[in-house]
Symmetry: C2
Subunit: 514 residues, 2 copies
C-alpha cells in the first residue's frame, strides 16, 4: 500500500516506530506492535507499527530515527506492507513457554534488541520470563557473549589485563580510585571503566569526574592506558555492551535484574579482562544481606568467568555501614585522595589494599596485601593516580581541599548521649540524594560518627553539604524524618527499628551496580 | 522544577506520556518509565516520563492526551516533579516474585491499566508473570470483577438474561446469528454483543454488519432489546471491560492469553448474563485439539461462572472443518439467513438448534433441542431476526442474494479424482484473508466439497470471492501454495501432511476469541 510520509521531528529514544491509522492498519492486516516494511527509492526499513485512531488514512507518520534512516523529509510516497514476525520474537515466545534457548537463538534476540527490532512489550515479556524461570549457565554464557558481540571491544595487545568491580550498595565506596593506581603502579594493566550512579549518591565515574574528564573515546583510553597502565573512565558511552542499557531500561520499572551476571561480565570481557576481583559488600546495610547469599552469587560469578575465560575471585566485604566518612562525588574523591596521601579513614585504606592484594596474588604474588600496602605507603599509588589524572586531562597537582564541595552546609546533632548502634544505609542514600548528589557533585554527607562510636549529647552525627539552599532544606527535613544514624545507650532502649507502612512513599528499586 | 510546555499534536494511543531531557530528568531524579507530576493552574496530572537525549532542558513535551487533560496549548510554564511509584506497580512486582495477589490489589492494577498509569513494560511483565505462574480461581474471579467494575454495564431490569459465546477458531461459524433469534423468539432476553475478527476471516459483528448497523450505543441497545428481546451488536466500543482491550494489545505480540477466562466472563457479567452457553470447537482444525483440553477449559469456565453468579454450560462441538460452506462476512450471513429460511447446510442448522436447546434446558425446558428445532422450522426465528435487523436500522426484508459479495471470483478445482480427506482450517483462513476478508465484506470462500465427500477430477473444491482483482490473485496464489482442501483416493496415498520449516513465513499468534 502506498502512503504519504509525515515526519515527526522528535526521536523515539532509538526505537523505530511508525504510526498508521487503524483503518489503514486493517487493510494491511497490521495490529499494534506488528512490524511494517517501509520501502522508498530502493531503501527498506522495518518499523514497529503504532496504530492510532482518527488519523489520516493515507499517511504514515515517522519518528526521526526512521525518517532519517529512510532519507525522507515528509510528503514522499512510500510503499508500506506487513513485515514478517522477526525470528527473535519466536524465540522470545519459546522462553515465555519455559523453553531453554540455545546460543544462536539468544544471539538473535540480543541483536534485535540492539537494532531496536523488538518492542518494549516483547523485551519486558522476555526479561520477566528470564527472571521467573532463571537462566542456565549455558544461557548465561550465551547472553554474555551475545552482549559482547553486539558491542565494541578494547584490545590492549597484552596480558594479563586486571580489573575490579563492585556490585555496589554501600554509600561512600570509593575503593576503585585507590585500587586502580595501586595495581597500575605495580606495572599491571588495569583499564577501569565504571558507571554513573543510578540509585546511589555517586558512581565511580561521578567521583572521578571531580578530578578529570571521564568521558573518553576508545582511542583516548588506549593512549591513557599506554602511558599509565590504567585509567578511570566512564563506560556508559563506549558501547561495550549496548544491549545492557536497553535491558536495564526495561528492568528498572519492574525492579528485576535477571541479567545481572551477563551484564557485568560482558563489559569485563569487552575490555579484555583476564583477572577480575568482584567486591560483594555483605551485611544488613548492603544489597546482599547474608554470607550465604553472597557465596551463591560469588560462585555464579566464578563459574561464569570460567566459561568466558576470565579468572574471577570475589571479595565478601563488610557491608553494615557506609565506607569511610564522605558520601557524594566530591566528598568521596577528597577522601580517596587523602587516603592515597596517607591520611584517610582506616576502612577505606584496608578495603583498597585487600582488593588490590587479591589481584596481585591472582597474577602470582606471594603476599599481595603486603605488596599493595607498600605501594600505597610509598606514595607510588598517589603518584600513579596523578599521572592518570593528567593523562585524562585533569590537574595532576590537585589537593583534596581543591575539590569543591557544596557551599550550603548543615549539621545533624545527637539529641541524646549514646553509642552508634546502626547506620541506615538507605536513609543515608536518600538524604545525600535529596542534598543534590550525584548530579550536584559538591552535595553529600560527611559522617562524624560511625558504628560503635560513643557520642555526646549535642555532638555532630553528620554534616550535609549542598549546592543550593533549597536542597539543603529538603535533605535536612528528610534526615529528621529518617534518622539514618541510630543511637542507643543500651540496645534495649531502641526497640522500634522501623515502621510499616513506611513513612516515605517511594519504593526504591533494588538494582545491583553493573 | 518549572518547565515550559511543548505540545505534540499527536496522540499516544491513550497513554499519558511526557518527554523530558535527560539532564532535566537527572535533576528531577527521574528515570525512563518513572512517573512525573505536572501541575498547572490547580490541575495535577501524572504522566509516564520518556527521557530523551539532546532535547531542550527547560522543556516538557506533551502528547495530546496530557496537554488536553491539563488544559495547555504550548508555551505555558508548568511545575514538574517526580511522582511516587503507583501502588499498583508494587503489586505487579509482587506478582513477578510469584506472590498470590488479593482482590483489592488486582483491582488496583486493573484500575491503573484502564487509567493508563502503567506502562507497556509494566503491563507486559505482569501478564508474562500471570502466564507463567498461572492464576488461582480467586485471582481469576478478582480479575473478572475488576474488569467489570472498571467498565460500563447493561441492566435490563429482568431475569433470566441468556447468552452464548464461542471461543472461536472454526472458519464460517455463523451460529450466533441463528441462536439469538431462536432464543429471542421463545421470549427470552438475549442481548448478544460480539467482536470483530482479529485473526479470522469474520467475527459476528463483521457478519451482522452486512445486514444492519452493529455499532449501537448503550441506550440504543436497551431500546432494541426492549422491542425484540435480543440484539446482535458490536461490543468493542461499549467499554464493557475496557481493561481487556489494553491487555490484549500487550498479549498479542507475546502470543499469550493468561486472562482468557476473565476476559470472556467479565463481558458476560457486564451485560448481566445469568445463563451462558460457551461453545468450544474441538478437533484437529480448531484451537482446542483434544477433548481432554476442552473439558479442562470447560471446567474452568463453569467454576468461574459459579464464582461470578453465572450459570455456565459448555458445548464441545465438532471442529475438524469449517462450519457450513460460506466463509467471509457477507457469504456467511447469506448462509445464516438461508438456514433460518430452511435452506442452509445441515451442520449450521444442527449446531444452532443444539446450542439454543442447551440454553432452553438451562432455564427449565424439557427437550430444548426439539423446542429450538420447532422455532426454527416454524419461521419464528427468521421473523425474529428480521425484527432485530429492523430495530438495529437495517432492511427487514433482505433476501440472502441481496447481501453483496465480491464481484471478482475464481474457482479452485480438483487435480485428481478423490475424496476430501482433510480441510486445513488455517489454510482456509489465510486464503480468505488474502482475498480481503474481513475488511472487505464481500470477500471470502465458498466450500463446494466438505469432509468425506467424493470429488471428480476437475470438480470445483471451493470458490474464492474478492472485491479487488489484486486480492483475488493473491488469494489464488496462496491457495495453490497451501492446498487447504486435501484429497485422497485412499489414505495411504497422501503421506506427507506438512513440511517443516513451513513455506509461509508469518507465524500466526494463537488467540482465542474473546
Amino acid at each position: 500500500m502506498k502512503l504519504v510520509v509525515g515526519v515527526l521531528n522528535i526521536t523515539a529514544g532509538g526505537k523505530r516506530i511508525a504510526i498508521i491509522d487503524d483503518e489503514t492498519a486493517g487493510l494491511l492486516g497490521v495490529h499494534s506492535s506488528d512490524r511494517i516494511k517501509l520501502s522508498y527509492k530502493g531503501k527498506e526499513i522495518i518499523a514497529l507499527a503504532n496504530v492510532a485512531t482518527d488519523f489520516s488514512p493515507d499517511r504514515v507518520w515517522l519518528y526521526s530515527e526512521i525518517s532519517q534512516a529512510l532519507g525522507v523529509t515528509g510528503g514522499e510516497t512510500v510503499e508500506v506492507q506487513l513485515a514478517p514476525m522477526p525470528e527473535s520474537l519466536g524465540h522470545v515466545r519459546a522462553k515465555l513457554r519455559g523453553e531453554r534457548l540455545r546460543a544462536p537463538e539468544l544471539t538473535t534476540i540480543v541483536k534485535d534488541v540492539v537494532e531496536q527490532h523488538l518492542s518494549d512489550i516483547e523485551i519486558s515479556g522476555f526479561l520477566t520470563a528470564l527472571k521467573i524461570y532463571g537462566l542456565s549457565m549455558s544461557e548465561t554464557e550465551a547472553m554474555s557473549r551475545a552482549m559482547v558481540e553486539t558491542g565494541k571491544s578494547l584490545n590492549f595487545g597484552k596480558a594479563p589485563i586486571l580489573d575490579k568491580h563492585s556490585i555496589g550498595g554501600i554509600p561512600g565506596d570509593k575503593t576503585s580510585i585507590l585500587v586502580v593506581p595501586i595495581v597500575a603502579a605495580a606495572g599491571y594493566t588495569i583499564p577501569k571503566t565504571s558507571s554513573r550512579a543510578i540509585t546511589s549518591p555517586a558512581g565511580t565515574a561521578d567521583r572521578v569526574e571531580t578530578l578529570c574528564p571521564v568521558n573518553l573515546a576508545m582511542d583516548e583510553i588506549q593512549e591513557v592506558v599506554k602511558k599509565t597502565n590504567g585509567c578511570l573512565v566512564w563506560g556508559g558511552a563506549l558501547e561495550l555492551a549496548p544491549a545492557d542499557d536497553l535491558f536495564i531500561r526495561v528492568e528498572y520499572p519492574l525492579g528485576i535484574d535477571p541479567l545481572l551476571l551477563p551484564s557485568i561480565m560482558s563489559k569485563k570481557k569487552a575490555i579484555g579482562a583476564t583477572h577480575l576481583v568482584i567486591d560483594i559488600p555483605t551485611g544488613s546495610g548492603a544489597k546482599i544481606k547474608t554470607p550465604t547469599e553472597a557465596y551463591t552469587l560469588a560462585s555464579d560469578f566464578v563459574h561464569l568467568g570460567e566459561h568466558l575465560g576470565i579468572n574471577v575471585q570475589c571479595a565478601l566485604t563488610f557491608g553494615d555501614q557506609p565506607l569511610g566518612c564522605g558520601i557524594g562525588p566530591a566528598l568521596e574523591t577528597r577522601e580517596a585522595l587523602s587516603t592515597l596521601m596517607g591520611e584517610g579513614p582506616a576502612d577505606v585504606h584496608d578495603k583498597a589494599v585487600s582488593l588490590a592484594g587479591m589481584l596481585f596474588e591472582m597474577v602470582g604474588a606471594k603476599n599481595g596485601r603486603k605488596k599493595a600496602e607498600e605501594i600505597l605507603r610509598s606514595g607510588k599509588a598517589e603518584c600513579k593516580l596523578r599521572q592518570i589524572i593528567e593523562a585524562q586531562g585533569g590537574n595532576p597537582n590537585v589537593k583534596p581541599e581543591d575539590i569543591p564541595v557544596g557551599p550550603e552546609k548543615a549539621e545533624v546533632r545527637a539529641t541524646q548521649k549514646g553509642r552508634v548502634l546502626w547506620i541506615k544505609t538507605d536513609g543515608i542514600v536518600q538524604v545525600a540524594r535529596a542534598a543534590g548528589a550525584p548530579k550536584e557533585k559538591g552535595a553529600g554527607i560527611v559522617l562524624k560518627a560511625k558504628l560503635g562510636e560513643a557520642v555526646a549529647k549535642g555532638a555532630v552525627l553528620f554534616e550535609i553539604y549542598a549546592e543550593r539552599s533549597s536542597n539543603l532544606a529538603s535533605a535536612l527535613e528528610l534526615a529528621e524524618q529518617l534518622e539514618p544514624v541510630v543511637l542507643s545507650k543500651k540496645v534495649e532502649e531502641r526497640m522500634l527499628l522501623g515502621q510499616f507502612p513506611a513513612k516515605t512513599t517511594r519504593e526504591k528499586p533494588f538494582m545491583l551496580e553493573r
